[in-house]
């Protein structure tokens, strides 16, 4: 009997243009300048960060962008303990939903400069930005969030 073929290499490479859209572009451009640009919906008062071009509940165009300082609280988090391909950091590390002050939505990011066992929901955190030469139109312009030790009261 013929030995069955069990593998077949099938290399694909596909390049795409990414169209960020006008709303998302405002946010991404802000990140390259260490700014977190939010937008409010006049219909329901929701503040989006990152903001799209219009409110997904009211379907109205959002108001002009304004800057938030990025300070906020940990809304929820988990500790990643498992290694996987493509991982950038050695586990264990903390992945959190950050609720920035003034925003109605949450940002996912890392929480570092703190032991994982010391992180808690409600912990006050602030963004740590990368150096000037690393700034880009990407959320990676924020290296991670870290606990606020002075002036930032827990929620």
């Amino acid at each position: 009997m013929t030995e069955p073929i069990t593998t077949m290499p099938s290399p694909f490479r596909m390049d795409y243009t990414y169209v960020a859209g006008t709303g998302r572009s405002v946010f991404l451009r802000g990140l390259a300048e260490r700014k977190l640009m939010a937008r409010r919906c006049a219909g329901c008062e929701q503040v989006y960060l990152p903001p799209p071009e219009f409110c997904s509940r009211c379907l109205r165009e959002l108001e002009p962008p304004f800057e938030l300082d990025g300070r906020g609280v940990v809304s929820t988090f988990c500790v990643v303990s498992f290694p996987f391909p493509g991982q950038r950091i050695d586990p264990p590390y903390v992945v959190a939903y950050i609720q920035p002050h003034g925003a109605g939505t949450r940002l996912m990011h890392l929480v570092r400069e703190v032991e994982p066992e010391d992180v808690h929901i409600g912990m006050a955190v602030e963004p740590v930005w990368v150096s000037d030469d690393e700034l880009d139109t990407s959320l990676l312009s924020i290296r991670h969030f870290r606990p606020v030790h002075n002036g930032g009261a827990d929620a």
Partner: protein, 356 residues
Amino acid sequence: MRDVAVVSFAQSPCQAANRRDDMADILLPVIREAVYAAGIGRDDVDFVVSGSHDFYEGRTFSYIESLDAVGAWPPISESHVESDAAWALAEAWSWLQLGEGDIALVYGIGRGSLPADLDQVVPAQLDPYFLAPLAPHRDAIAGLQAHAAIEAGLTSEQGMAEVVVRCLDAATGNPLAQRSGQVDVAQLLDAPYVSSPLREHDVAPIGDAAAVVVLAADDAARRLAERPAWVRGLDHRMDTHYPGVRDLTTSPSTRRAIGRAAELAGFTTSDVDIAELHTEYSHQEAILTNALELNGAVVNPSGGPLAGRPVTATGLIRIGEAARQIRDGNADRALAHATSGQALQQNLVCLLEGDG
């Protein structure tokens, strides 16, 4: 069977490349236009279903982004097909037939401009063992089909150019077309081959657009449209995936789909005034005309895909355009056809009718 009709249709302009709008932004104005034209609010929509393809977007579950334009809060009843949105309309039609609701919103988004090079993407849609490793040019299989169709006497390079001339001329009346104008056959035949016997004009120009159709059943349809375009028959069939086992000069799946659609409708292609055909290549008009036994109907009065092909929105636009002709009183009966896959592999046929 319930009476289900197209009560509204809108689309964005076919653009070679839209670099301003993300998936939600390209869709939102089109939804607004279609919903406004139907005189309803989005709370009146019972079911939302869409069609698009990750191959063109370059990421998985890409259509999720478009839901921001639908207003998916509070949570909605929703579905998606990974295909041309004409198949989403087929799902909505079935859903309405089941009596699950009265109004369905169908949308298609096609962004063929996002792949930097379709020659990288098209082979990935093929059989992974025998065809994909050969990495055929995006129009290679269509070229094989066109050559076979010419050899079978269905058309000629001259005949194909005549189809293009007629479509581009018709498209001068369609402000949303990507390509239109008065050209002559001799001028077209002077152009070099892309994938012989296909020239650039024989290949429907790929681009970006969104389209929205609102379907309604029974009294809702009569309430929302002065002259609803009733979907009297609808069916879709597919031929086998591997082109090598097909006779590329015929379309048995189209033939079977029109047979079933005509049975449901109680009329057939000889009764239709206009037909909107999803011709991705000029030679396919001859193959489809044969399979559908079209006889005397005006084909692609909108200009058809040869005037603009926003990939997975293209088939839904055929249904919307055919319905428009009925709703505007230009036709009493119309046919719409949609295709998906290589060389007319999958085909959908829809027969529409206005009140007498």
